[in-house]
């Protein structure tokens, strides 16, 4: 067994184990942290496949930004785990059956028979001066220009949708809002500070 293969199996094992933990942990924070581990081992496998740029992007974007944001949301929201898990045991047998059937089918197709090394020999390793980022950039802005622009439009729609669905202008006492123009107009003196005499408490 070559060193490469050992590294591959090591990270794959961590990946599968942490992915299982993501869906079985009771505490959503633990799930999110295991997801970070899953992404990280996935990045290591990509690195092994000589996709260095993608591996780094996965760590930077997913682990660094998306998951931190996700953890933040999980901590802010009061998620009732009990209701989320309700019916888990009841649906487990059916779920397992479906999973098993799909696993066997996928294994038959994606297994060594169809995607073995004899069908898809591993490509020759790239030269030492080969630049992953550069070659990606070269096609991204030329051959895939149309798709690149479309992805930008999708992000724009996501922004519009998110703001459209969450921005609320409420009036009255329902929500306390800042009014910057009034804040700026405040003058020194009694306008700004109000001293209140209070009884000392013990």
């Amino acid at each position: 067994m070559t060193f490469e293969l050992i590294v591959f199996y090591l990270f794959s094992a961590i990946l599968v184990a942490s992915a299982t933990m993501v869906i079985t942990r009771r505490n959503p924070v633990h799930s999110a942290l295991f997801l970070v581990l899953a992404f990280f081992s996935c990045a290591a496998i990509w690195m092994l496949a000589e996709a260095e740029f993608l591996a780094i992007v996965l760590v930077l974007v997913y682990v660094g930004a998306v998951m931190v944001l996700f953890l933040f949301v999980v901590m802010m929201l009061d998620i009732d785990v009990a209701t989320m898990k309700a019916g888990f045991i009841r649906y487990l047998p059916v779920g397992l059956l479906v999973t098993l059937a799909m696993l066997i089918e996928i294994f038959l197709v994606v297994g060594a028979d169809n995607f073995g090394l004899d069908k898809f020999p591993s490509p020759a390793p790239a030269a030492a001066d080969y630049n992953n980022t550069e070659s990606l950039g070269n096609v991204l802005y030329t051959a895939y220009m149309y798709q690149f622009e479309l992805a930008a439009v999708i992000l724009l729609v996501a922004i519009i949708a998110a703001i459209g669905l969450t921005l609320r202008k409420r009036s009255g006492t329902e929500v306390r809002q800042q009014d910057p123009s009034r804040q700026v107009k405040v003058k020194k003196g009694p306008d700004r500070v109000r001293l209140v005499k209070m009884e000392a408490q013990d």
């Binding site: 089918e105 895939y144 220009m145 479309l150 999708i154 949708a161």
Partner: protein, 478 residues
């Protein structure tokens, strides 16, 4: 790669709609609440101008652009123009409905235009990546539109269901595409079909990938057994949005099937034909049978959509030019029928009242004989009663199926459409032979009344003279 005018001209319609959506977005920010109608007007004008732009840049030849990402051919032009016109109708019907419910906002039209852009991208996609991005652009805009009335619990629930199931379907589609890529080494339709034609590619992997591609597509079509989201989304969304979701995306779904299955995986026709037979028979069966039990007209029309999708699939699975023409004719006609059907639902609704129950249609003839007549034409057309256009749409599809020696399938189609006729005719009976429960006079703007009349009469006129549209479709499929 050089970017010259010659390579940008064919995508001018897309560029135009994108710019229009951005302009509406910015202008809308500076409008006062009572001037909101300006955004609406701009959206309408840009859709109508897009028709002209598409016509003027059409060459009639098949052009492949952007390193094989985009295709511009006669079919894309016809489908795009149908999408513009039907979307313009949907925007128009939506105006009064949204205003009555205090959700008349510029975002509706901005998101609507982006959805139109997504459909255009799907219609002229020439690679799996482009078609996927177009699909996501459409879907993302629709998710936001379904949740558009933020104070409605039903709307949020429908949006959530739509979002989760839509994401799942996209995942399936992507997994299937990855298998196709693994077996052929390309995501561009031309290259994929060339790789398939050279024997020696592994068929097992391809068929496995094909299954996932078809499942993803069936989700987007709303074909049984992947239809669970359709009734809930149609029911939960504001009717203005239901109208939009129910009409034009069916044209885009037809394009999706044509591009992926015919342009890309056409060599595997024998394999996907069997899958589409199952989907079509189940859709026609479940759609028509369950629709009978619905007391809510939006749910009823949702199940009716499912059954019509079965018919569109029948045309595609025939696998001949005749079948594709029939399916294209059917999808355009269906989009127009759904537009009119939901248009009537919105006409009867008013501030604080949704004409959702079937009982709300009782005695419509006494309240407004003209619009009862329009609804009659639309329902006859959906049921497939001659001389309305729905009859010819069904006939062309069945003819195509019979001509490839699948007579049994045509019989199944006829059988279920006879069952389906029951619930369409029930509406006609309620309108003409029952006493009205609600006597409130109909209040709709002149524009809505005129367009709705044109929409209804079009069913009759197209039915009397179906040859025009049919020959356009036949030329487009070519």
């Amino acid at each position: 790669m050089q970017f010259e005018m010659s390579s940008l001209m064919p995508v001018l319609p897309e560029i135009f709609i994108l710019s229009a959506a951005c302009v509406v977005l910015v202008v809308d920010l500076f409008l006062k609440e009572e001037r909101r109608v300006v955004s609406y007007g701009m959206a309408q004008i840009s859709l109508l101008l897009a028709v002209l732009v598409t016509l003027f840049t059409a060459t009639g030849e098949r052009q492949i652009l952007f390193d094989g990402s985009v295709v511009r051919d006669a079919m894309s032009d016809v489908l795009k123009i149908a999408v513009y016109l039907i979307s313009a109708g949907a925007f128009l019907y939506a105006k009064d409905y949204l205003r009555d419910r205090d959700i008349f906002k510029g975002e509706f039209y901005v998101l609507g235009l982006f959805a139109v852009l997504g459909m255009m991208v799907m219609i002229s996609a020439n690679s799996f990546l482009t078609i996927y991005l177009g699909l996501e652009l459409l879907a993302l805009s629709l998710y936001a539109l379904v949740a558009f009335n933020r104070d409605s619990v039903q709307g949020s629930e429908a949006a959530m269901k739509y979002f989760v199931l839509g994401a799942l379907a996209s995942g399936m589609l992507l997994y299937g595409i990855s298998m196709v890529y693994g077996a052929t080494g390309s995501i561009e339709f031309g290259a994929v079909s060339q790789a398939l034609a050279n024997s020696g590619v592994d068929k097992r992997v391809l068929v496995f990938g094909l299954v996932f591609v078809v499942i993803g597509m069936a989700f987007k079509f709303g074909a049984v057994p992947f239809h669970m989201w359709v009734p809930d989304v149609y029911h939960g969304a504001p009717t203005a949005v239901t109208l939009f979701i129910g009409s034009t995306p069916k044209i885009a779904a037809f394009a999706l099937a044509m591009r992926m299955l015919v342009d890309g995986l056409g060599v595997l026709h024998a394999d996907w034909q069997g899958m589409l037979v199952i989907l079509a028979v189940l859709s026609m069966g479940v759609g028509n049978l369950v629709a009978i039990a619905q007391a809510n007209i939006k749910r009823m029309l949702a199940y009716s959509t499912i059954s019509h999708v079965g018919f569109i699939l029948l045309g595609i699975l025939a696998g001949t030019g005749k079948g594709y023409t029939a399916a294209m004719f059917y999808s355009i006609v269906y989009a127009a029928m759904a537009l009119g059907g939901f248009g009537i639902v919105m006409l009867l609704s008013r501030k604080g009242f949704e004409a959702e129950r079937l009982d709300d249609y009782k005695g419509l003839n006494e309240r407004s004989p003209w619009f009862a007549g329009m609804m009659l034409l639309l329902m006859f057309s959906m049921a497939g009663v001659p001389p309305t256009v729905g009859f010819f749409a069904k006939m062309f599809v069945l003819e195509a199926v019979v001509s490839v020696d699948m007579t049994w399938l045509a019989l199944v189609g006829v059988f279920f459409s006879i069952i389906g006729a029951f619930y369409y005719l029930r509406i006609v009976k309620l309108m003409y032979f029952d006493k009205p429960v609600d006597e409130t006079p109909l209040s709709a703007g002149l524009d809505t009344q005129v367009v709705l009349s044109v929409n209804g009469l079009a069913m009759l006129v197209l039915g009397l003279f179906p040859a025009g549209l049919l020959s356009i479709c036949a030329a487009a499929v070519g």
